[in-house]
Structure formats: C-alpha cells, structure tokens
C-alpha cells in the first residue's frame, strides 16, 4: 500500500507536467483543428532557455533569494518561447491556412525535426545537467512517503499555471475570442475578431506553457538534451486526446492519468519481473484504446462529421 501511494504521488508530479504540455496541444487544436507536432520541441527549448538564462543571469540574480531567481528564469523563458511559438506559426503554418490538413501536418513534422536537429547543432547532442534552481531537500514524509520540495514546487507551479490559463480563457476578452474561434472561425471574423491575432496569441500561450513544462520537467529530471521533447510531447498529445482534444480541463485530467499510469506500470513491472522499458509504450496503448472505444475522449463531446 505504501509503495502504491508513493508511486501514485510520483505519477501525479509527472502527470502535472504532461498536463501543462497537453494544454498547449489542446488549445491549438481547439482553435486551428490541427495538431502541432512541434510542441514537444518548444518544451525542450524552454528547458534549454532555462539552462542558458540561469548561466547568464546568475551574477545579476545572485543577491536575490532563490524563489525570485527561479521565477525570473521561468518567466523569461516562457516569454521567449511564446515569441518562438508565434514566429513558427507565422512562418510555417499561416501560409498553409487554406490548404488541406495533411500538408500542415507534414509541415509540423518538418518544423519539429528542424527544431530538434538545430538544437543538436547548437547545444550539442550530449546530455547537459540542468542547474538546481531550487535547492533540494526532503519534505517531512507523511507516513513514510518520500517527497522532495522540488516535487511539491513543481506540482504547485503547474497547478498555478493551469489556474492562470483557466482565468485567461474564461475571464478575459482574448479568451472569449479563443473560445469563439474554436466554435466557428467565420462567424468570429464577422463579429469583428482579428482571427490572426487570436491564433498567434493561442500559439504564444501554448508555447509559454510548454516552456514552463520544460523547466519543471528539467527540475525533476535534471539532465536535458535536444531530443528530450519527443517522448513527453507524444505522451502529452495522448493525454490531450484522452481528455478530449479541444477540451482544456480534459487535457489536465488526461495528463494526470497518463502520468500516474506510466509511473505505476514502471513501478510494478519491476515487481512482476517484466522489464520496465515497456512503460514507454503505455501511452500509445492508451491512445489506441481510447480511439477505439471513445474517440471523443473522456470529457470531449462527439463531433458529428457533416457532409
């Protein structure tokens, strides 16, 4: 029982990061009906941005307590990646706005590969250690469960960001425009909304969340390399589909479920004697199952295809 709770907790921490990335996927899908393959690589770039920002700003931030310097690094990398997301949308996806979906998908794959291999060129292919933005210590275990303060901070930050997103989407005019755009782009334009601006904003917001996810993930597993975004990106996509693509609470729920299931599979497979490498395949099995049995996702609504 003890081990189960420990694994559950670990899964929750991992799941909150998947949720952050999944939110980006689901927002872009909701607004553009297209899956941004390159999202996982923005996650990777966020982590690297954190690495380099920390290196460059260290002397300037040395006099401040660690929460301040960590927050500064987080916010600046989020801003940088938001800008990157907007640039990618402008250069690679906007020219294809009127083309068939397949073309945009292929372009997204191209962008993803471009980011990964350019990253490899610039940062080098070897794993790099991520600096400890948060000095690590163990939080007093509740009934023998080990939890580090890093994990707690990751969870709290992830949830704070998700609540912030909910506020933006539900409580601001831009958020209203995003929701309207996801329902009917033509009507939205007729109502006076500048679709291009809203789309750019959505991309920027999603990329900022991915960057935050990258820094939090790197804080939990402090070793980063240019291809680190592929698997978390795919799993976050599965999380978004699991929760119902286009549905924001669904993405959060999906992320948590995937994180928990993956950690449980990894933890218990050792007990059962099967190699723990199978945990990588768990997300895909879940994807196939959900697409067979409930393609609209757990919280999604069924979209009937009209001819």
């Amino acid at each position: 029982m003890q081990q189960f709770l420990q694994q559950l907790l670990n899964g929750l921490f991992l799941g909150s990061i998947y949720a952050l990335i999944a939110l980006g996927y689901t927002m872009v899908y909701g607004v553009l009906r297209f899956i941004n393959f390159a999202h996982g690589d923005v996650f990777m770039l966020g982590a690297f941005a954190g690495l380099y920002l920390n290196k460059w700003l260290a002397p300037a931030l040395a006099s401040f307590p660690w929460p301040v310097s960590a927050l500064v690094v987080l916010l600046i990398s989020m801003a940088l990646c938001a800008l990157l997301g907007i640039i990618i949308e402008y250069l690679a996806y906007r020219p294809l706005r009127s083309r068939p979906k397949l073309n945009v998908l292929i372009t997204a794959i191209g962008v993803s590969l471009l980011l990964e291999y350019s990253g490899q060129l610039v940062f080098g292919a070897t794993q790099q250690p991520f600096p400890l933005l948060i000095p690590k210590s163990n939080v007093a275990g509740l009934g023998g469960l080990t939890v580090t303060n890093v994990q707690v901070i990751v969870l709290v930050t992830a949830f704070a960001l998700m609540l912030g997103l909910r506020f933006i989407v539900m409580g601001t005019r831009l958020g209203l425009a995003m929701r309207a755009l996801s329902l009917n782009p033509t009507a939205c334009a007729l109502m006076g909304v500048n679709n291009s601006v809203v789309i750019s904003f959505t991309f920027g917001l999603g990329s900022a969340l991915a960057a935050a996810g990258g820094i939090l993930y790197a804080s939990l597993y402090p070793s980063i390399e240019p291809f680190m975004g592929i698997l978390p990106g795919l799993k976050a996509f599965v999380a978004a589909v699991l929760g119902g693509i286009g549905n924001i609470p669904g993405a959060a729920l999906g992320g948590l479920i995937i994180g928990v299931v993956e950690t449980l599979v990894a933890g218990y497979s050792q007990a059962l004697g099967i190699p723990s490498g199978y945990k990588e395949g768990v997300a895909f099995v879940i994807l196939i199952l959900i697409l067979i049995f409930k393609p609209s996702g757990l919280l999604g609504k069924v979209e009937r295809e009209k001819v």
């Binding site: 020219p95 397949l102 590969l113 795919l234 599965v238 199978y278 196939i288 697409l291």
Partner: protein, 322 residues
C-alpha cells in the same frame, strides 16, 4: 502482345538485375553499396506511396513494418539457415532459396502486422491516424528493445552476424516486383477503390465502395513490401537493432514520398534515388542532414505540395466524353 506490356517490362527488369548482379564484381564496391540502398529505398517509397499517396491514409509507422520484416527474415536465416540450405542442394543456389524463404517469411510477418495496424485505424483520419501509426511504430520498437538480450530477438543490441545475402539481383528484383504490383493494382479496380477512399471516403461509402476492405488491403500490401525491404536491409547491413527502425526512419521514407509527389510512382522512385544519393553526399555533414531533410519537408509543403513529379503529370487528359 501489347496486352502484357507490364509483365514483359517486369521480366526485362528481372533479367537486367540478374545480369548486373552477375557482373557486380566489376562495379566499385562503394557505388554498389549506394545502389543497393537506392533499391531498398525505392521499395520502401513505393510501398508507402500505396498507403499514403494512393489511398490517402497518412501512415508514419512504415519503419515498424520494415523492422518486423528485417527481424523476421534475419531470424529465419540465423536460426534455420543451417538446416534449410542443404535441403535445397547447398551452395549458392541453396542459400538463395533460403534467402527467398526468409524474405517471404519476413514479408508475411510484416503483412500481418500491417493488418493489425490497419484494422484499429479504420475509423481514424489525418492527424489521429498519423499518431496511431507512429504509436504502433513505437510499440514495435519498444517490444523489440525489451526482448531478452540472449534470445532470438537480441534485445536492445539487436542481431548481428546476419549472412550478407543481399545482392543487386535481389534488391532490384524486389524493387521491380513492388513497382509492378503497385502499378498494376493502382490501374485496376482496386486502384479505383484506393483513389475513391483517398478523395472522399463518405462519398465512396455512399457509392457502395467497401472502404474498410481497400484500406486494409493498402496497409497489408504496403507492409508486405516494407517487410521485404526490411529483410533486404538486414542482410545488407548484417546487423540490425531496434533503434534503427524508429520514427526517424519512418520520416526518411515519408520525405521520399512527399518530395516525389504523393500518389505518383515515378515521382517517388525518382525521389528515393535522389534522396539516397543526397544522404551519401551529406554523410560527412551528418548533423546537417536532418536539418536539410526537415527544410525540404517544410519548403515542399509551402511551395510545391504536389511533389516534384506529381501524379497529374502522367494522367491522360480526359476528352469531352462520349
């Protein structure tokens, strides 16, 4: 006589490959190696073109089928090669027959995996289908990586010491057969079915076309030839590992299909040849290779989405109808 144009072309191609193969000791080894890779890539591109281009099912998991074929064929040669070769008379002829059996076993296993991927994917479109096929590719890779290192699959390190049976004849023979089969299918009622599924699935269903059947056939046939290509690849490289059949390998084949023009067999053959040579030229600049490939993808999609030699170039223009 002209009714059998395709069959004659195939026989000529096979005869030529045999001829070149017998004379292959005259060809520079490095160039021969590139040619063999060209042939394997042609088979891969043509088989993927059937699924992606002609049937419009965007599959990103082709390397998975290749892996199944590669492992299937290698296990036959490694485990049973010793017993089988003498049965067919031993020597070069015996090993040739063993190789044929190994390739066919690999191809059939790949076809089976193609069926297993195709059936759940039937209801999926576009993005979802792409991710699910990618997922299957990953599952195949993960399963192969986690097999025991001492067992017949070799685990994460894969298999080595595979006999190098691949020769010019086999590679270009298989490529010729794959082009023949795909071209004949596309020009038959099956081809009408594939194109109907690609152009408008709902309309096709409404007209009584069994879309399920055509999608599954496309996947299975595409996977079969990918499996053959995988078997050839394994017996050329003599070592294989699960990492070599990951998503990036699938993307390599996808780039060939996109560059050549989806649905255009001459286009993808040309693209396969072009990209294999490009690969070799860029071998010294390995880090730039994928950057070049990804830029090709992006630029092609924005500037010329129909590919270099689009299918429409080869279609007869319809006259005012009778």
């Amino acid at each position: 006589m002209t009714k059998y144009k395709a069959q004659i072309a195939l026989l000529i191609a096979l005869a030529l490959s045999l001829g070149v193969s017998l004379a292959s000791s005259q060809i520079d080894e490095y160039f021969l190696d590139i040619l063999l890779n060209v042939g394997i890539n042609v088979t891969l591109a043509v088989s993927l073109n059937l699924v992606n281009g002609h049937t419009g099912q965007f599959s990103l998991g082709h390397a998975g089928f290749m892996a199944v074929g590669a492992y299937g064929a290698s296990i036959v040669t490694l485990q049973m090669g010793q017993q089988l070769t003498p049965v067919f008379g031993g020597g070069a002829f015996g090993s040739a027959i063993t190789f044929l059996i190994a390739l066919l076993v690999g191809g059939l296993c790949a076809a089976l995996s193609g069926w297993m991927v195709g059936v759940p994917s039937l209801r999926l479109k576009g993005d979802y289908l792409a991710i699910v096929t990618l997922g299957f590719n990953e599952i195949i890779r993960v399963v192969l990586t986690n097999t025991s290192g001492d067992g017949p699959f070799g685990g994460a390190l894969g298999l080595k010491g595979i006999p190098s049976y691949t020769s010019f004849f086999w590679v270009f023979g298989v490529a010729a057969v794959s082009i023949y089969v795909v071209s004949c299918m596309v020009n038959s009622t099956y081809g009408r079915g594939f194109l109907a599924v690609r152009d408008d699935e709902i309309a096709a269903e409404a007209m009584g076309v069994n879309t399920v059947r055509y999608k599954v056939i496309a996947f299975v046939l595409g996977a079969f030839f990918a499996g053959l290509a995988g078997g050839l690849y394994a017996h050329l490289r003599t070592t294989i590992s699960p990492e070599g059949f990951n998503f990036l390998k699938s993307v390599d084949v996808v780039v060939m299909v996109i560059l050549g023009g989806m649905g255009s067999t001459p286009g993808v053959v040309a693209a396969a040849i072009l990209l294999t040579f490009l690969n070799e030229k860029l071998r010294d600049f390995e880090q730039y290779r994928m950057i070049v490939f990804s830029l090709i993808l992006i630029v092609m999609m924005i500037v010329r989405p129909q590919g270099l030699l689009p299918a429409t170039m080869f279609q007869k223009k319809g006259g005012k109808g009778a």
